[in-house]
Symmetry: C2
Subunit: 282 residues, 2 copies
Amino acid sequence: MNIGIVGLGLIGGSLAKAYKRAGAAVLGCDRDRVVTDYARLAEAIDGELDESHFKSCDVIFLAITPHEAVRWLIENAPGIPADTLVIDCCGTKRMICETGFDLGRRYGFTFVGGHPMAGRHKGGFKNSRAELFDGATMALVPAKRDNILLLERLKKLLQPAGFGHLLVTTAEKHDEVIAFTSQMTHLVSNAFIKSGTAEADAEMIAITGGSYRDFTRVAYLNEDMWTELFIENRDNLKKELDMLLSELSRYEKALEADDPEELRRLLAEGSRRKSEVEKICS
Amino acid sequence: MNIGIVGLGLIGGSLAKAYKRAGAAVLGCDRDRVVTDYARLAEAIDGELDESHFKSCDVIFLAITPHEAVRWLIENAPGIPADTLVIDCCGTKRMICETGFDLGRRYGFTFVGGHPMAGRHKGGFKNSRAELFDGATMALVPAKRDNILLLERLKKLLQPAGFGHLLVTTAEKHDEVIAFTSQMTHLVSNAFIKSGTAEADAEMIAITGGSYRDFTRVAYLNEDMWTELFIENRDNLKKELDMLLSELSRYEKALEADDPEELRRLLAEGSRRKSEVEKICS
């Protein structure tokens, strides 16, 4: 198996290590020369990927930001052979899939939108590891959802990296769901961490309930990457954020008015919803 | 060791089972006759607690809501012997401690504010278990913080129930910190669960990132208990909620204005704060 990887940060670096672990030949490159060299020294890649290798690659992963991925596709599409799959790893899917499907049709290669559902709080090659995707889900957006041969091929290509589950969806559905299951949690966590801590007793924060740890776990963000993802998905994200703001304002008004009845009603509504969501997801 | 427990819900029931596990004699009561009888049949208590037993109790735990605990203290204070400690288990501490310290001084017994830092999403005796407090922290609010003999006595009384750490604090500090480390996380989780789920793809919610699970973990609340706790701590809670609302509004405005620079600045600020908090808490 021959794997090409563009971008050797947390995701690209981990893919490289995972495929090396599986015995594949891995070529990779990073816009930062030092990272490419370091990845080679660390034996995460066998050599540097350039366009002369495209024809030997079973798959090329684009583990770069959405704008970089679009730029890479526009520059390199004419040289991608028909047998080489291109899969991106971006956190939003509409823009990149539109470009990828369009260029794929025009130049005769197959592009598949991808979003590996795994991560760590700190990015970069130095935090990458072969086990990152073990058991994780890869969301996949093919141009057509009923291409069984393509899905079989994706399964054979992705399982060796450790993925436990492939989820086929559309770019629209992906971006809608990701807005509240991931983007909103990161945004709110990043805002939440700014509360209260200044005056607080360190020992007490350290020991009080797991819920504070849960809420602030993903507060640390790579601001460049997430800004790009948020702006790209801003229609869905803004809708969710507006909903949360208006919901939280109802709790605020109930507190302001010292109105236990309204507060109780709001809390009961949330508890009911939690039971519904648990039923849906179980 | 003789233990009295008023209220046999999740906390009181778990205390009963934990002390029984440790070989103590446990008397308990619940406003619900059926629960008291069931606890006795389940051998979580040795018998029903009434005022005739107060003098044989080393400690009486009040595992009831703040208002019920205040009412219990007012009714029972005259009959509490000097050697019997009374510890409440309420999630807010200012109101109950004011009453408890005042009545303790007047009738010559020792009241200590307590908040066991453990819980489960679903309450009630049926969810109680002996292991609930194993390794957990008990926040303690004594009338005077420098009473070494009292602290030694508390340690000997609480360790057999499994507590791993006792944290001595003041009612004011406790309520201020608990507002953002626990009350706000529960409130926001309860509001957050109302987002997006209606239109979303169940399978995708089920598998997408741990952060959604983290955020909605504590969404299910006992609305009566939490309403009381929120209203009682509404000054601190409202301050925190107002801060979060104003912070989230800044993100919303940046999205609305399609302003990546401002969004990046906000995210970087949150990441810096996360690093600070991690340093404080490690």
